[in-house]
Symmetry: C2
Subunit: 312 residues, 2 copies
C-alpha cells in the first residue's frame, strides 16, 4: 500500500528552489529521492518563446495538463517518460525514464497552478524571498550558469514581472509552508550564510507544536528564534523566524521539538547536532552554512516522514 | 461517454504498416485520426543500439511500460506527451503533445507484446507478408528513405531474424485480422498493385457475414474472391482471399456485404464505387491502385465504425 511521498517546491525564478531541494534530498538520502523540475514541461524552447513573445512563467507556455498527469502517475508509483528541457542550451533533449523513489521532490514555477496538480502533493512549500534578494540571486546564477549578462537578466526580470504577479505569486496561498530567507538588515553583507528565515506555517498540515518556544523566549522579542501569530494571504498562520546568528544551542532546542515528535527523525537530529549542521553547496558553487536553512530543511523533512507514517 | 477508438497495426519492419495505416486514415478522414508510431518508444537511439548490440525489435530496447501507459491514457481520451524518434537521424527529437482524435491508429513492432497494451485496442491487425516480399520492401524503403545500402539492409534483416522470430511473429496470435499481401505467382512482376491479399479473420471480433461469397463462387476455386475455413496459430479462422486481378464488379459485391451491415459505411462505399477505388500513395512515393488493399482498408474501417456504435 506504499506510494511515493510527493513534495512541492514552488517559487519564482531564482527564489532558491534548487538549493532547498538539494538540501532536503541530502537529509532524506539522495538514493531515496527522485528530483523533478517542472521547467521540463515547457511547451516552447527558448527561441520559440522569443518568437512568440511569451515568458516561461505563463501557463500557456507549459504543458500543465501533462505535468499534472505525470504527477498523478508518480503518486501511484508508476514510471513516467519525462520531457527534458536544458537551461544551458534552451532546447529539449531526449526524454528521461523515471521510476519514482520513496520520495519525489517536484520543483518549479507553476507547480500549484491547477487543482489536480495541487492534489498530488503531500507537502507544499512556496519560496518567497524579498524581491531585491531574488534579483541578486538571479543575476548571480544566470550570468554564471546560463550565459546571460547582468543587464539581460535585469531586463528579463522586468519583462516577467506581470506574469510573476499574475501566475506565480498567487500560488503562495496553496502552500503549507512559505519560506522567506531575508537579510537581517539593509546593510547586511553579501553572504547568504547570514540570512534569517521567516517560515509561514499554514495550519493545512500538522506542524510540530512550537508553542514552547514562546515560553522559552518570553519577553525577549530580540530572541534569535521567534514564534508569532500572523495572517498570510488574509488567513491565520503561525510564523516561525530563525535568525542567521542563532547559536547551535538555540537551534538544537528547536530540533528537539521536531525529533521528540517524530522518532524517525532522531537519526537525522543526532547527525545534525554537530558543527557541520546546515552546511550545503549553493547553486553557484559556494558553500553555505546556515542554521536557518538547516531548520527549514528539517521541518520539511519532518512532514515528508510524517506523510510516510500514514501508510504504516 | 465517448472515447477514442484504438486500432493496432503491428508487424515486422517494412511489413507495410505505414501504407495500410495511411490508407485507413484516408478512409476515416485524416482529420478524425491520430497516428502514433511505437518506434517513438525506443529506449536507445541508433548509436546506443549499435554500442549495446541490441536491435529495435527487442522488448528491452523499448519503454513498453510507457507505451502501454500512454495507450491507456489515450483510450480514456487524455492527452499525452509522446517521445519522438527520428528514423532519418536515428536520434530523439522534442516530444510531441497529442490530444487523441476520434480514431487513434497505433502502428509498430511490439504493439501487442504486453497484456495491458493488448487490452487498449478495439481492433488488432497483424501484417504478415511473405518474408521475400518484406525483404524486397525493406530494401526499397531503407535505401530510398533511411540512407542505407541494399547490402546493409540485408545484413540487418539477417541480424534481426532471431528477434523477429522470438518477439515479433508470436504477436500474430493476438490479432483479430492477419493481413498478408502476396504475389499471385513466383514470376509476378514488380508492381504491388497486382498483389493478392489473404485476410485471416479470427472470430475474436464480429466480422461481417461473408458466407454468401461461398454460394456466389460455388464450384469455382479459381474465383478472384474466395472464403474458406482454416487454422491460424492452431485456432479456427475464416480466410478471405482477394486477388489483384479481381474486377470492380466482384469487389463491389464484397463491399455491399459490409455496407449493408453498417449504415455508416455507405458513404464510404458510395465514394469507393468508382474507378479511383483503392488508389493510394505508397511510402516510397509510388502510386498503388489495388482492390485487395482497398478491401483490406474497408474491412478494418468497418470494425472501427462498429466499435464506435457501442457508445451510441
Amino acid at each position: 500500500m506504499s506510494r511515493p511521498i510527493i513534495l512541492g517546491i514552488v517559487g519564482d525564478s531564482a527564489a532558491g528552489k534548487t538549493t532547498l531541494t538539494k538540501g532536503i534530498a541530502q537529509v532524506l538520502g539522495p538514493e531515496n529521492v527522485t528530483l523533478i523540475c517542472t521547467d521540463d514541461y515547457h511547451r516552447y524552447d527558448r527561441q520559440q518563446r522569443a518568437e512568440i513573445g511569451i515568458t516561461a512563467l505563463h501557463p500557456d507556455c507549459n504543458y500543465l495538463d501533462i505535468m499534472q498527469q505525470q504527477l498523478s502517475l508518480l503518486r501511484t508509483g508508476q514510471p513516467i517518460l519525462k520531457p527534458v528541457y536544458s537551461h544551458k542550451t534552451g532546447t529539449f533533449e531526449p526524454p528521461q525514464y523515471i521510476k519514482p523513489n520513496k520520495f519525489v521532490i517536484i520543483e518549479g514555477l507553476l507547480g500549484y497552478s491547477t487543482r489536480a496538480a495541487r492534489d498530488a502533493y503531500d507537502v507544499k512549500v512556496y519560496l518567497a524571498p524579498p524581491e531585491p534578494l531574488r534579483a541578486k540571486w538571479k543575476v548571480k546564477r544566470d550570468t554564471q550558469k546560463r550565459g546571460y549578462t547582468a543587464e539581460q537578466v535585469l531586463a528579463e526580470l522586468e519583462k516577467r514581472e506581470p506574469d510573476s504577479e499574475q501566475f506565480i505569486r498567487p500560488q503562495r496561498q496553496w502552500s503549507d509552508i512559505v519560506v522567506s530567507f531575508y537579510p537581517p538588515n539593509e546593510d547586511a553583507d553579501e553572504s547568504n550564510g547570514h540570512l534569517n528565515v521567516r517560515l509561514v506555517l499554514r495550519p493545512t498540515i500538522p506542524h510540530p507544536d512550537f508553542t514552547s518556544i514562546i515560553n522559552l523566549t518570553r519577553g525577549s522579542s530580540d530572541s534569535a528564534i521567534r514564534l508569532g501569530l500572523d495572517r498570510d494571504m488574509n488567513k491565520p498562520v503561525d510564523v516561525l523566524e530563525v535568525d542567521g546568528h542563532a547559536t547551535l544551542d538555540q537551534v538544537n532546542k528547536l530540533e528537539h521539538i521536531m525529533c521528540s515528535d517524530m522518532p524517525y527523525l532522531r537519526n537525522i537530529c543526532d547527525r545534525e547536532s554537530n558543527p557541520e549542521l546546515g552546511k550545503i553547496a549553493g547553486t553557484t558553487g559556494e558553500t553555505i552554512q546556515s542554521y536557518p536553512l538547516a531548520l527549514t530543511q528539517l521541518i520539511v523533512t519532518y512532514h515528508m516522514l510524517k506523510a510516510t507514517q500514514i501508510f504504516q
